[in-house]
């Protein structure tokens, strides 16, 4: 690298001589221009979606960055063509119940791996890590067969049901979160639960009344990451949910666009904006916690 040579001549002094109010830094303009370019790059596809959503002519042909008209026609198209709000309800139920159950399973397992000593603890953790590397997509064939058979006997748990899909997701509940949660448990001082044990508290009492409250922040974070993941999950859902009424937003909207790419593009974009709203809200309100959760374990 020749950067050593060029760097000496570069006047971009990021860290020396903080600018005073009087001396205008010519690089300041460049910085703001760069920020503007970054924002344009990040936002123009999103702007494209919003513009298509509110453009009442609704098809792909007329979609442009500055809509020539403004209206809600696409909303009508969407709700007339498909059970959009059923999809919304299904998605919220699946992501909501699924993430709560997954966090509960994960936190129980993480507590055992962090606090209790038993045979096979270390190999168990390693096995969990290894299992996560198997391309789960290819186990869909097996999952599909399991839930077809299950649905023949107990239709409430079979394909085309929210409960069946939640159960299928729970297969990964333990492996997916246990490392992150265990790491957080490890940071809670052991002396706290040992003191409680000396006072005669049972393990369940220590777990529910002492340890769990201490790790609530990470529970919220993991829960939200899980919620976002399930809300956006699309592949397993598209294998499981064939009934249009039982579908989730991702499966339904994708099928809508596949049905007629040109005709339904506006309706798709309107649905996409509505579907993105909860996740965008979660991101914007819990930015710090989410970033902490996403990078936990490496950036300390």
């Amino acid at each position: 690298m020749t950067a050593t040579v060029t760097s000496a001549a570069t006047p971009a002094h990021s860290f020396d001589a903080p600018p005073t109010a009087k001396r205008r830094d010519p690089w300041q303009i460049v910085r703001y221009l760069a920020i503007g370019a970054a924002l344009i790059f990040a936002l123009f596809p999103i702007w494209f979606i919003v513009a298509a959503a509110v453009n009442p002519s609704g098809n792909l042909n007329t979609t442009q960055l500055i809509p020539d008209a403004f209206g809600m026609a696409n909303y009508g198209d969407l709700t007339n063509a498909r059970p959009f709000w059923s999809w919304y309800k299904n998605t919220l139920i699946i992501a909501g119940l699924g993430s709560i159950a997954a966090v509960f399973i994960g936190v129980c397992a993480a507590y055992a791996f962090s606090r209790l000593r038993f045979q096979g603890r270390r190999p168990g953790l390693m096995t969990l890590l290894l299992i996560q590397m198997f391309p789960s997509l290819l186990t869909f064939v097996a999952l599909f067969r399991i839930f077809t058979d299950l649905g023949d006997v107990i239709p409430q748990f079979g394909l085309n049901t929210s409960i069946g899909l939640i159960l299928a997701y729970l297969g990964g509940a333990m492996g997916g979160n246990v490392w992150l949660l265990k790491g957080y448990f490890d940071t809670v001082p052991k002396e706290l639960d040992e003191a409680a044990k000396v006072d005669g508290a049972s393990h369940a009492r220590v777990f529910f009344t002492i340890t769990l409250p201490l790790i609530t922040p990470i529970l919220v974070t993991v829960g939200m990451i899980q919620f976002i993941g399930l809300f956006n999950e699309f592949l397993l859902a598209s294998v499981f949910l064939k009934d249009v009424d039982a579908q989730t937003l991702g499966v339904g909207l994708n099928a809508l666009l596949t049905a007629d790419r040109n005709k339904y593009f506006g309706a798709f974009c309107f649905g996409a904006v509505l579907a993105s709203a909860p996740i965008v809200l979660i991101y914007l309100s819990f930015q710090k916690q989410l970033i902490g959760g996403l990078t936990a374990g490496s950036v300390k």
């Binding site: 760097s7 570069t10 971009a12 002094h13 990021s14 860290f15 020396d16 903080p18 830094d25 760069a34 920020i35 970054a38 790059f41 990040a42 936002l43 494209f48 979606i49 129980c108 209790l116 603890r121 299992i131 590397m133 391309p135 789960s136 997509l137 290819l138 186990t139 869909f140 064939v141 097996a142 999952l143 399991i146 023949d152 006997v153 107990i154 159960l167 299928a168 990964g172 333990m174 492996g175 790491g183 005669g200 009492r205 956006n232 699309f234 592949l235 991702g250 994708n254 996409a272 579907a275 993105s276 996740i279 965008v280 991101y283 970033i291 902490g292 996403l294 990078t295 374990g297 490496s298």
Partner: protein
């Protein structure tokens, strides 16, 4: 330990779980699946042994996770691994006997003048009349004997049989007889059903009669040959298919599932066509995540440095806007990018904006570029987030020391900040590589592996191993689960090697103590 009211709660929960399991077990018992009943009873015993006693404390916490892990992750993986040693797929779904029965039943024709059975249509008691497997309840016109017929064969039926004036069965123990309207709704299923018998089969004729027909195909068990009585052609079993003994003409439509040992694996590596496809995909599969990780990291890092400058006002707002691409669901953004890459200037925003006529998704090279651009847009906010985190964790005194020593801004970034950031985000870059290695959704939604060149229909220009395996297993018209499972084993080994290498370089494994 104090006797608290929680002990009551605990036993209520255990009882509820057991009640649920008994209910599920009852359903399976009614459906006659013995193994499922054994499994459910075993789970019920585990619940009682783990939660009803004060022993096995770690198990109390691990059991729910373990249950789902074993049933819905480990078992499917084991199933996939076992499948990779078979030819399970289109035309090879059932056993050899099933293929014989099926093929013979397909050729059943009514013989003029044979008497017709009176027929009722039923499902197993408790089954769904609209979707449950159909059983034909038949009455022989000559001696009035009653039978239950399914695609698996004919069985004598006597328990609780009541007959109407025409001989039609109106009630039988264990069956629910469909009323005319329900039968009509399933007329399509009825016309497909054939009950195999000696030398032929029973087929339905209308909604209340069935005939015994003769099959033109016969099975010679001693010689293990299928013989077409009309043409005299003999078919012999070969590679899990019935092929003509004289080598002339087509093999029969249905084969059977059998173990093929390592053939799927060796095919992927040695079969000319398969190998060329496999190697081509593998090369792109190794390059794609590499470029993706590098480009997203460089852009994310650049933005992080830019936005980490104290001289910028309103940083919080800009940052929130910059991570929006990450907050939108992938199924939305990938599909919208697909529209933007449309070649037609009237439709495709990118060509329209820049006045280009590039065939983004139709040209093999441009399709790859389009995927990399889309993934850059999708992935840079994550890199931006983790780099911002790492940048803020760089201690200020280090930066001040560099300044005092006279280092320029660029020099400080290159020699002080970057090494510190890389140590922090290194493992995440490896994880990101592993993630993109199997980035199914992006390829599936953007190009679905295409464009496909020439007469090549299986291997697309932008296929990753995972999209290729998916098309082989589920997406295509002639699924080949066995070969797809073998491909997924290759993926597993590669990803595991990459990840373990990454983990070895970090201290994450040392935390396990």
């Amino acid at each position: 330990m104090t006797k608290s009211p929680w002990i009551v709660v605990k036993w209520v929960a255990i009882t509820a779980a057991l009640a649920l399991l008994v209910w599920i077990g009852g359903k399976f018992a009614a459906a006659g699946s013995l193994w499922a009943v054994v499994g459910v009873s075993f789970i019920a015993m585990c619940v009682l042994a783990i939660y009803g006693t004060t022993r096995a404390v770690p198990m109390k916490y691990l059991f729910p996770g373990l249950f789902f892990l074993i049933a819905l992750q480990i078992w499917p993986i084991v199933f996939t691994v076992m499948t990779s040693f078979t030819n399970y797929g289109d035309g090879h779904m059932g056993t050899k006997d099933e293929s014989i029965k099926y093929l013979i039943a397909q050729t059943v024709k009514e013989v003029e003048g044979t008497p017709r059975y009176a027929m009722s249509v039923a499902v197993k008691a408790g089954g769904d009349v609209a979707t449950g497997d159909i059983t034909l309840l038949l009455t022989d016109p000559k001696d009035g004997a009653t039978y239950a017929g399914t695609p698996n064969g004919l069985a004598s039926l006597t328990d609780g049989v009541e007959k109407g004036p025409t001989g039609k069965i109106t009630a039988a123990t264990g069956y629910q007889i469909l009323i005319a309207r329900e039968v009509n709704a399933r007329s399509k299923d009825l016309s497909d059903i054939v009950v195999p018998t000696e030398g032929g089969g029973i087929k339905t004729s209308g909604l209340s009669e069935a005939f015994v027909g003769k099959a033109s195909l016969q099975y010679d068990a001693a010689a293990d040959r299928l013989i077409d009585t009309a043409t005299g052609k003999r078919y012999m079993p070969h590679n899990a298919l019935w092929v003509p003994e004289d080598g002339q003409g087509q093999s029969l439509t249905s084969g059977w599932q059998e173990n093929v040992g390592l053939r799927n694996y060796t095919d992927a590596l040695t079969n000319e066509t398969l190998r060329n496809g496999f190697v081509k995909i593998l090369v792109w599969n190794l390059i794609f995540p590499l470029i993706s990780v590098l480009s997203t990291f460089l852009l994310g890092m650049g933005f992080a440095l830019l936005f980490n400058d104290d001289r910028i006002k309103g940083k919080g707002l800009w940052r929130s806007l910059l991570i929006l691409p990450y907050a939108l669901p992938g199924f939305v953004t990938a599909l919208v990018w697909r529209q933007m890459f449309n070649q037609d200037q009237n439709f495709g925003l990118i060509n329209k904006t820049f006045g280009m006529t590039i065939d983004w998704l139709g040209d093999p090279t441009w399709a790859k570029v389009a995927i990399l651009i889309t993934n850059l847009w999708l992935g840079f906010p994550y890199m931006f987030l983790i780099c911002t985190g790492a940048l803020q964790a760089v201690p200020t005194d280090v930066k001040e020391a560099a300044k005092i020593d006279g280092a320029s801004g660029f020099r400080t970034i290159r020699s002080i900040i970057m090494p510190l950031v890389l140590v922090a985000v290194g493992p995440l870059l490896v994880a990101s590589y592993a993630f993109n290695f199997n980035n199914f959704a992006l390829i599936f939604l953007l190009t679905n592996g295409g464009p496909f060149e020439g007469n090549q229909t299986q291997v697309g220009s932008t296929d990753l191993l995972i999209t290729y395996a998916f098309r082989l297993a589920i997406g295509g018209t002639t699924p080949n689960f066995g070969f797809a499972a073998a491909i997924s084993m290759f993926i597993f080994v590669i990803v595991a090697l990459i990840s373990l290498q990454g983990f070895r370089r970090t201290a994450s494994l040392e935390d396990v103590n």
